[in-house]
């Protein structure tokens, strides 16, 4: 199903976009299984319409929106972002959505709001992977409020000129391009503004490996592999070296969010 939006050239990287086939058949979406090919095989059971999203917590205007109203909250635009997975591979994806900051403005966070928590759907009928105890369900991710407010943080409804395929987090997901991919929650049903730092799924499961911040950082290794380099899917193959990973995945404009923070400690 087509979804068109004007390209916002301020948010377009020059890298060559990843092939649609690779971006839709090589996914981490454990709700549909732990293999990279599982989501494309099993996400057919997800019903992305009708869909409602609850926005609650420390906001003056809590609301429950259906997908259409959410999508019409702000004009959609196309942005081409790099995506760096914590596992050491990367892609380049043309997303369609709007800055999450637009939604923040609409719901008016209270003075208590310091964090935003994103909750993914957890429905055993639609998601066969929930039978496996690999993570605590539902999948929860989170950002600090100022991170969520950064114009780069995108609430996405589509990619490659279409609505999001199920395996990529239909019907609505976050895209936070300066953080490892798992920080971008998929198939979101609830957004909570909170006082305290959310307990996020991967951080609960392996805190020494997946920090709350999880900014892309070539200087902070994952315990089981170096993060200094990455393999670009579809490009870096048998006869090319892996490419160097850039600080904040190349989005240096976010650096000011972390001024004065020890990013080795807050990994």
């Amino acid at each position: 199903q087509k979804l068109s939006a004007k390209t916002n050239s301020a948010y377009v990287v020059m890298d060559k976009p990843t092939a649609y086939k690779d971006a839709t058949t090589y996914n981490n979406f454990y709700e549909f299984g732990t293999d990279k090919t599982d989501p494309s095989h099993y996400a057919g059971s997800l019903k992305p319409r009708p869909w409602t999203i609850a926005i609650e917590g420390e906001v003056k205007k809590p609301m429950t929106l259906d997908l259409d109203s959410l999508q019409k909250l702000a004009p959609l635009e196309e942005r081409i972002y790099r995506l760096r997975c914590v596992e050491g591979w990367s892609m380049v994806i043309p997303w369609i959505g709007y800055s999450f900051a637009e939604l923040i403005r609409k719901v008016e966070p209270t003075g208590n709001a310091k964090y935003v928590e994103f909750v993914t759907l957890a429905d055993k009928k639609q998601m066969p992977g929930l039978r496996s105890p690999v993570l605590e369900w539902p999948y929860v991710e989170g950002l600090r409020l100022d991170e969520a407010n950064h114009p780069l943080a995108l609430l996405a409804f589509g990619m490659y000129g279409e609505v999001l395929p199920n395996q990529n987090g239909a019907p609505v997901r976050m895209v936070v391009p300066w953080k490892y991919g798992f920080k971008s929650a998929k198939s979101i049903v609830k957004i909570r503004f909170t006082k305290d730092q959310p307990k996020t799924a991967w951080n609960i499961s392996a805190p020494q490996e997946y920090g709350f911040y999880s900014n892309v950082n070539p200087d902070v290794d994952h315990p089981r592999w170096s993060q200094a380099t990455e393999r670009r899917i579809g490009e870096d193959g048998f006869f090319t070296k892996k490419r160097k990973t850039m600080m904040f995945n190349g989005y240096s404009e976010v650096a000011s969010l972390y001024a004065g923070m020890d990013l080795k400690k807050f990994y």
């Binding site: 290794d221 994952h222 592999w225 892996k242």
Partner: protein
């Protein structure tokens, strides 16, 4: 009981050899027709790792199977099966050295030292080399049966190291289904040996102990 003639055994060996090469042939075929998926190198790495573990399990299963079935000729397949475990681990290691590190030995060694799951995997690989190198009849003769056997018993260490390597690799993903499966198989195969050697020690003791008057 089935006891193959020399000719039948040769045919069986050829068949096993061809079957054992099929996973490799599949990889080559997939590479040629572009079916290795979005991340071919990851596919090859995990596939060759899996087949190393399969062949380690199959090799370790030979003795229990022989004892349970009475098919002593199975022993004649063991060397080839063990060498296939080595063949797949060499592919696995080469993928790591070539595609992950681009033959940067220094960077690779740093990885080996720094990351426990690579350390144990690398140790298991190194320990397999002398076993592969001493697999010829000439080497068995040179070492003498007893020393050769002692050396080749390091497989009882190598297999658990291989499992540990896989286990730790999967640990951060909390995904233990396969490591548990492999671990159970290896544990059963090793525990059978422990059980048999204890049983054997008991019967020997009984035989030498003086009879009561």
């Amino acid at each position: 009981m089935f006891n193959p003639s020399a000719r039948q055994l040769a045919a069986i060996k050829t068949a096993v050899f061809i079957v054992a090469l099929l996973p490799f042939a599949r990889l080559v075929l997939f590479a040629v027709i572009g079916q290795l998926g979005a991340n071919p190198i990851e596919f090859i790495t995990s596939n060759t790792g899996d087949w190393t573990l399969y062949f380690l399990c199959i090799t370790l299963a030979v003795t229990p199977l022989r004892r349970l079935s009475g098919w002593n000729w199975l022993l004649k397949l063991r060397r080839m099966l063990g060498l296939f475990a080595f063949f797949y681990v060499v592919l696995h290691f080469t993928t790591f050295l070539w595609f992950d590190h681009f033959f940067d030995i220094d960077a690779m060694l740093k990885d080996v030292v720094k990351r426990p799951f690579i350390t144990v995997g690398f140790a298991a690989f190194l320990l397999l080399i002398p076993l592969a190198a001493t697999s010829t009849n000439a080497m068995v003769r040179r070492l003498g049966g007893r020393r050769w056997q002692t050396l080749h018993r390091t497989i009882y260490l190598i297999a658990p190291l291989g499992i540990l390597h896989f286990w730790w690799m999967k640990a951060g993903k909390n995904d233990f289904e396969q490591p548990i499966l492999f671990g159970t198989v290896v544990a059963v195969l090793l525990l059978l040996r422990v059980y048999w050697s204890i049983a054997q020690a008991r019967t020997q003791k009984r035989q030498v102990s003086p009879r009561p008057n």
